[in-house]
C-alpha cells in the first residue's frame, strides 16, 4: 500500500520538481565524470591523450556539434521557414562529408593539438599561426556567447531563476570539468550529454508523431497521413495558404541564396576549430574517418527528426490557436506569455486570435524557441517529458560551450604562449597556463551570456562565414596543393576574413550606413548568411594568385605534405 502511495506521489510531481530531479541527476553525472577524468599532461588536456575510441569520439562530436541552437531553435526556425529551413538541415550535416573526405584523416595524421598548429607548421610561419589564432578566437567567442545565453534561458523558464543566475550555474559546471579534465573531461561528459540530449529530443517527438499520425517514427510520420485523413504536409500547405503564407513546401528565398547559405554552412562546419580538434583525439587515421561517419549518423537522428517536429508543431499551433477565443486558450499559452516568448494583441477587438501572414492584421507573435520548449505542453505530454526537454537543452548548450572553451584556452596557452611568446616554458607550466586560460575563457563567455552583445542574431552566421572564409581554404590547400606557400595562404586568409567582416558589418549590422541597406543591394542576391561562400572563393583565388608570384615552399614542407597523405608512419 505504502509503495503504491509513494509511486502516486512520484507521478504527481509538478514540472518544476521534475526539472530539479532530472537536471540535478544529469549534472551529478557530469561532475562525477569530471572527477574521474582529471588530467596531468598537456597531451591529455588538449587531445585526451589521443586515445579516444571512434564510437566515443562520434558521440562526443555529435554533442559538441549540436548546440543550443540545434536543440532549442532549429525545429522552430524550420516551422516558420518551411522549405527554406533546408539550408540548416543540409548545411549543418553536409559539412561532415567534407570533414570525413577532405580534412579529418589528414589532420589526424599530422597529429598535433590545434588548428593553428597545422596552419603554423604547414605554412612555416608564425605570422600564419597568429592569423589562425585570431580567426579561431573570433569564431569561438561569437559562438560561445550564444551557448551561455541558451543555458540562462532554459534555467529561467524551467526553474524560475533569473537568467543571470542560470548563466552562472552553467559557468560553474563547465568550469569544473573543463579546468580539471581538459579535453578528456570534456570528451566523456559529451558522451553522456549526447545520450541526454538525444533522449530528450526524441521522446516528445515520438509521442507527438503517434498523436498526429499514428506512426511512432517521426521521420515517417512527417510524410504520413494525419489521423483525420489526408497527408499531413498537404494539410499544412493548405493551412499556410489560407492564412496568407507561402506553401510550406515551397521556397520563399531565391534559390541562389538557398544554395549559397547551404554551401557556406557546410564549408563553415568543416572549418570550425572546435569540430576539427575532435578528430585529433582518436588513435589512428582510419578511426578519424570512421568517427566522422558515426558522428554524422548520430547527428542525423536529431536532424531528420527536427523537420518532422517542425511540421507537427506548426500544424498543432495553427489548429489550437487560429481563430480561437483568447479567453479559451489552453494553459500553456498563459504560462509562456509571462516569458514574453508568445504574445497576443487583439487588433480588431473581436476577442479571437488571428494568426496571419499580413503583418498589419496579424495578432499573434510567436518566438521560434517555443516550438521545441513548449511543444510537450502543447501536446499535453506528462510533466517528466517537459522536464526532460530542459535537461536536453542544457546538455546541448553545455557540451558545445565546453568544446569551444577548449579551443579558446589552447589557442592562448599552446599556440600563443608555448609556440610564439615563451617557447621555453615546461610542460607543467603550459598545463597551468591552459587551466588558467580555460578559467578566463569561461568568465568571458559568462560575461557575454549575461550582457549579450546587441548583434547576437548576426553572430552564428558570422561564425560560419568566418570559418568558411578563413580556415577551410587554408587547410584544404595545405593538404591537396603541395606548392601552396605561406605568402599565398596568409594573404588568402586575410582577404577572405576581411571581406566577410565587411559584408557582414555592411549588410547585417548596417554600421556603414545611416540605415541597414535593403536586400535589393546584396551582391548577386546573396544574403550575409550565404556570403561565406563568396568569401571562401575569394580566399582560394587570392591564395593561388599570390602563390604564383612568390617563392615555392621549402622541401621539408613538401615532405610534411607527403607524409600526411599516407595513413601509416
Amino acid at each position: 500500500m505504502d509503495m503504491i502511495n509513494n509511486l502516486n506521489l512520484f507521478m504527481d510531481l509538478n514540472v518544476q520538481e521534475w526539472t530539479y530531479i532530472i537536471v540535478g541527476f544529469t549534472f551529478s553525472i557530469y561532475i562525477a565524470i569530471a572527477i574521474w577524468s582529471r588530467v596531468q599532461t598537456t597531451k591529455d588536456f588538449y587531445v585526451a591523450g589521443a586515445g579516444v575510441s571512434p564510437l566515443a569520439n562520434g558521440m562526443a562530436t555529435a554533442a559538441d556539434w549540436m548546440s543550443a541552437a540545434s536543440f532549442i531553435s532549429m525545429a522552430g526556425i524550420i516551422s516558420f521557414a518551411g522549405y527554406d529551413g533546408a539550408v540548416y538541415l543540409m548545411g549543418w550535416t553536409g559539412g561532415y562529408v567534407l570533414l570525413a573526405l577532405l580534412l579529418a584523416p589528414y589532420l589526424r595524421k599530422f597529429g598535433k593539438f590545434t588548428v593553428p598548429d597545422f596552419i603554423g607548421d604547414r605554412y612555416y610561419s608564425n605570422a600564419a599561426r597568429i592569423v589562425a589564432v585570431i580567426c579561431a578566437l573570433l569564431v569561438s567567442f561569437t559562438y560561445v556567447a550564444g551557448q551561455m545565453r541558451g543555458v540562462g534561458i532554459v534555467f529561467s523558464r524551467f526553474l524560475e531563476v533569473e537568467i543571470n543566475t542560470g548563466v552562472i550555474i552553467g559557468m560553474i559546471i563547465v568550469l569544473f570539468y573543463a579546468v580539471l579534465g581538459g579535453m578528456k573531461g570534456i570528451t566523456y561528459t559529451q558522451v553522456a550529454q549526447y545520450c541526454v540530449l538525444i533522449f530528450a529530443f526524441m521522446v516528445p517527438a515520438i509521442f507527438i508523431s503517434i498523436q498526429m499520425t499514428g506512426n511512432p517514427i517521426p521521420q515517417l510520420g512527417f510524410g504520413s497521413e494525419a489521423i483525420e485523413g489526408g497527408y499531413l504536409l498537404d494539410k499544412l500547405d493548405g493551412l499556410n495558404e489560407q492564412l496568407g503564407f507561402n506553401k510550406y513546401t515551397d521556397n520563399t528565398k531565391p534559390l541562389i541564396d538557398v544554395f549559397a547559405i547551404t554551401f557556406a554552412l557546410m564549408v563553415g562546419t568543416a572549418g570550425l576549430p572546435h569540430v576539427i580538434i575532435r578528430f585529433f583525439t582518436v588513435k589512428k587515421v582510419s578511426d578519424a574517418r570512421k568517427s566522422a561517419g558515426i558522428a554524422l549518423l548520430l547527428i542525423a537522428v536529431l536532424y531528420t527528426t527536427a523537420p518532422a517536429v517542425a511540421v507537427f508543431a506548426r500544424t498543432n499551433m495553427i489548429e489550437t490557436l487560429s481563430n480561437v477565443e483568447y479567453s479559451k486558450v489552453p494553459s500553456w499559452f498563459k504560462n509562456w506569455e509571462t516569458t514574453g516568448l508568445i504574445s497576443f494583441d487583439d487588433k480588431n477587438l473581436d476577442g479571437k486570435i488571428q494568426y496571419l501572414a499580413d503583418k498589419s492584421s496579424n495578432e499573434l507573435i510567436v518566438d521560434r524557441d517555443i516550438m521545441v520548449l513548449a511543444n510537450p505542453e502543447i501536446a499535453k505530454l506528462p510533466n517528466w517529458v517537459i522536464a526532460l526537454v530542459a535537461a536536453g537543452g542544457l546538455a546541448a548548450a553545455l557540451s558545445t560551450a565546453a568544446g569551444l572553451l577548449l579551443v579558446i584556452s589552447s589557442s592562448i596557452s599552446h599556440d600563443l604562449l608555448k609556440k610564439v611568446i615563451m617557447p621555453s616554458i615546461s610542460e607543467k607550466e603550459e598545463l597551468i597556463a591552459a587551466r588558467l586560460s580555460a578559467f578566463a575563457a569561461v568568465c568571458v563567455a559568462g560575461y557575454f551570456g549575461i550582457n549579450p552583445p546587441g548583434f547576437v542574431a548576426a553572430t552564428v552566421a558570422l561564425a560560419f562565414g568566418l570559418a568558411a572564409a578563413s580556415f577551410f581554404p587554408a587547410i584544404i590547400l595545405g593538404i591537396f596543393y603541395k606548392k601552396m606557400n605561406k605568402e599565398g595562404a596568409v594573404s588568402g586568409m586575410i582577404a577572405g576574413t576581411l571581406l566577410m567582416l565587411y559584408y557582414m558589418i555592411k549588410y547585417k549590422l548596417g554600421w556603414f550606413d545611416d540605415e541597414l541597406p535593403s536586400s535589393d543591394q546584396w551582391w548577386f542576391k546573396i544574403s550575409p548568411e550565404g556570403f561565406g561562400t563568396i568569401a571562401m572563393f575569394v580566399n582560394f583565388i587570392v591564395s593561388i594568385i599570390v602563390m604564383k608570384f612568390t617563392a615555392e615552399p621549402p622541401n621539408e614542407i613538401k615532405k610534411i605534405v607527403e607524409r600526411i597523405r599516407i595513413p601509416s608512419e
Binding site: 562529408v97 570525413a100 512527417f222 542525423a300
Partner: protein, 85 residues
Amino acid sequence: MNNKEKEIKYWKTNIRYVLILLFLWFIVSFGAGIIFKDFLNNFKIGGFKLGFWFAQQGSIFLFVVIIFIYVYLMNKLDKKYGYDK
C-alpha cells in the same frame, strides 16, 4: 614498385574516390534538394514531394551513406597498400 611510386598510386586512387563521392554529395543536396527541386516536386513518395524530401531529409541519410562508403573503400585501399598498420 618502390615506396615513392606506391605512395603516388595510393594518392591517385584516393583522389578518384573522393571526387566520385563529392560528386554524389553535390547531386543529392544541391542537385536534388535545390537546383532540381521544382522538377522533382512533380513526383511524390508517400506524403513527401520528392524535391522537398531530398532537401529536408533524404540528403542527410545519403550523406551518412556516402561517408561509410568512403570508410569502407579506404580501409580496403589501406590494406592493399599495407598502410593499415
